[in-house]
Symmetry: none
Subunit: 125 residues, 4 copies
Amino acid sequence: MFSLDRTNRAPIYEQIVQMIKKQVVAGILKPDDQVPSIREMAILLGVNPNTVSKAYQELERSEVLYTMKGKGAFIAETTGKTISEKARLAAVNQLKEAVVDLLIMGLSKEEIINRVEDIYKEGQI
Amino acid sequence: MFSLDRTNRAPIYEQIVQMIKKQVVAGILKPDDQVPSIREMAILLGVNPNTVSKAYQELERSEVLYTMKGKGAFIAETTGKTISEKARLAAVNQLKEAVVDLLIMGLSKEEIINRVEDIYKEGQI
Amino acid sequence: MFSLDRTNRAPIYEQIVQMIKKQVVAGILKPDDQVPSIREMAILLGVNPNTVSKAYQELERSEVLYTMKGKGAFIAETTGKTISEKARLAAVNQLKEAVVDLLIMGLSKEEIINRVEDIYKEGQI
Amino acid sequence: MFSLDRTNRAPIYEQIVQMIKKQVVAGILKPDDQVPSIREMAILLGVNPNTVSKAYQELERSEVLYTMKGKGAFIAETTGKTISEKARLAAVNQLKEAVVDLLIMGLSKEEIINRVEDIYKEGQI
DNA sequence: GTGGTCTAGACCACT
DNA sequence: GTGGTCTAGACCACG
């Protein structure tokens, strides 16, 4: 449930961010669920607490979780109403890059859309 | 047609890679078309030739370009048959990240698929 | 009338301090009015009595409240003559920070002053 | 021009953020001006480079500056058009806190507005 | 040279 | 116990 790919070039803290986001989308983590404390997660993943802290702060900025000092970190409501234009653009750009890469590899539009459907279904299990 | 976003966090050489790929997908650059030489491109973009060189090397590795010593660099056939499993996985993972981000921002599956269609259409103009 | 934002980064005891101050400025709480006891307030807000205690201590230090042993806590006269230079400077600094932030966001001097008027009016209702 | 108040309870990185913002508002730092590199600023202020880095990253998030890897950090255009609702609200709330504090200390609305004018004028010198 | 990430370990404030 | 800040020092990627 909590694991990292140390061979991945993506920064560890980004992997943690992504890991939590996936679990939220998959419904494994629901609003107001408590996530492991920074120290716990650091031990679970075998990384420095500072690294987990950075991930949690980024998640708080993107309003995926909220923290209460002295209490811990919790999943936020995913109303998704306060998305900044900047964040939306960043995500769409990443989508564009991935789609261009897959098109250039010879995948058809339909195959890519199927991939999207697959990712969506994973989240619905 | 050739432009960079210097404020973008993505490394410049990655932006060049992405720029060429987009033009291939859009059909602006076709197989065996010659791309500007490293020096020309460096002047066009106002960057260090080393940076362009790095981009072309990456494009060669992903078989988007081939170079002929003393001749220049040319667009490769996009057969798409020699895609390394590693590259494919990387692209699919990036797709997954983007989709997860958009889902968490409250977009529906349909909206995301529409985005993919849009990106595809852009390439067909 | 008594509510906290648990997701707010500001410490809860500071939020309590601010809450009381606002009600004094708004005239809801008048000199010699009794405020809820530490225990009552803790139950009202669903927080630890220690947290309320810390807030009341800070309010006593800034002479917004006075406590009578065995009686409870009461609103002090707001003569405003015994303001410590330190406290005044702190408030002016906070004002400066907020104004700088708003200016950098593109608000004009007039818009900021309008905001101040709004805050003042809220207190007069 | 660059100095900190180590007795201040505000985190050092926030003080750096505020310092830069003030200089932008005051027109001392103009769009595309380069700010001292992280290492330089760290030496100037006598703090750890990580602390400066954190400040610069926060400034980048609020679009006060932009960084170019390998080049340095530069003041961004202050178009102020992409302000997130969240950031605006945070600044207005800070304004409200400061105004309430000053009102409770006995300052009149006019005196507070005079303060705002003073802060504005400082920026225009 | 630049900024970005990570570790180890310290101290503080809040609950 | 919790998260937040700071330091010292390391290594990497970019230009």
